[in-house]
């Protein structure tokens, strides 16, 4: 079915790709679902957290999943969407020590954390210790409106940055499903472009 939609060469590239997703909140849960729908080969997903009521304003979970670990909850949801993808789940807190090991089979890692310091830690770790890996990070997706201010920028060979770089939660912006999904859509779209066009 997906071969018919995408053509065989695109389908093969997607099917043989392994993508890492660090953080399974508003960004990570949306990115994972987009990639699962188009038939990505394998997702390596990591988050230590459980689903909370406050997550449901933007994250792809259900009321009955409150209290369940996000890795388990998202894996269940992804399997309902596309049971033919492989999922490697890590319900752990990501650190500079375990990031290179957990994502060692990925050529692309999506930075999907919530806190600025965590984003910094992941991007620095990947750029410094994982030589061939491309990191797709997000900075600035709070609030609503201003859809076109969310941009995808290629900062260097190995860093793509998405967002408006300014509307952070520190500045009082709240997070809402539509704008978070726009940023996650940019992220997933950049990943697909890298997989198909190299």
């Amino acid at each position: 079915m997906l071969i018919e939609r995408h053509g065989e060469s695109v389908h093969k590239k997607l099917k043989s790709a392994t993508v890492g997703i660090a953080g399974l909140g508003g960004l990570g849960s949306n990115v994972a679902i987009s990639l699962a729908r188009i038939g990505i080969g394998k997702l390596i997903i990591a988050d230590f957290d459980v689903v909370e009521p406050s997550n449901l304003n933007r994250q792809q979970y259900f009321v009955e999943q409150i209290g369940i670990g996000k890795v388990t909850a998202l894996s269940d949801n992804l399997m309902r969407i596309n049971p033919y993808i492989k999922i490697d789940g890590h319900p752990v807190r990501l650190t500079p020590d375990n990031i290179p090991t957990i994502f060692k089979d990925c050529r692309i890692v999506a930075e999907c954390f919530d806190k600025a310091q965590q984003k910094q830690m992941l991007v620095e770790t990947v750029l410094n210790t994982m030589n061939d890996v491309i990191i797709i990070a997000v900075s600035g997706l709070g609030g609503y409106g201003k859809s076109n201010e969310i941009q995808t920028r290629r900062i260097s060979d190995r860093l793509i940055l998405i967002g408006d770089s300014s509307s952070g939660i520190e500045a009082g912006f709240s997070l809402m499903a539509p704008r978070v999904a726009i940023a996650a859509g940019h992220q997933a779209n950049a990943i697909v472009e890298l997989i198909i066009e190299g």
Binding site: G23, G28, F113, K115, A116, K119, L141, I169
Partner: protein
């Protein structure tokens, strides 16, 4: 007069450039915990900001993260 090229733009300092990357971030009032920095094409781990010496003409890329995800 001294110059640092920061994110592609010349920033001019009257006397000399800030002595270290850490001092530069302080002068820009940027929280170093939210910045990934590159000096002359080299990623500088956050732990080394303090002992990364800056000189006139250095090229610096600062990627700033704000929260939300």
């Amino acid at each position: 007069m001294a110059i640092l090229k920061i994110n592609g733009e010349d920033k001019i300092f009257e006397n000399s450039v800030p002595s270290t990357l850490k001092n530069l971030l302080e002068s820009l009032k940027v929280d170093e915990a939210t910045v990934v920095a590159e000096v002359n094409g080299q990623i500088i781990p956050r732990g080394n900001f303090q002992n990364t010496i800056l000189r006139d003409g250095h090229k610096i890329e600062l990627i700033r993260f704000v929260g939300g995800g």
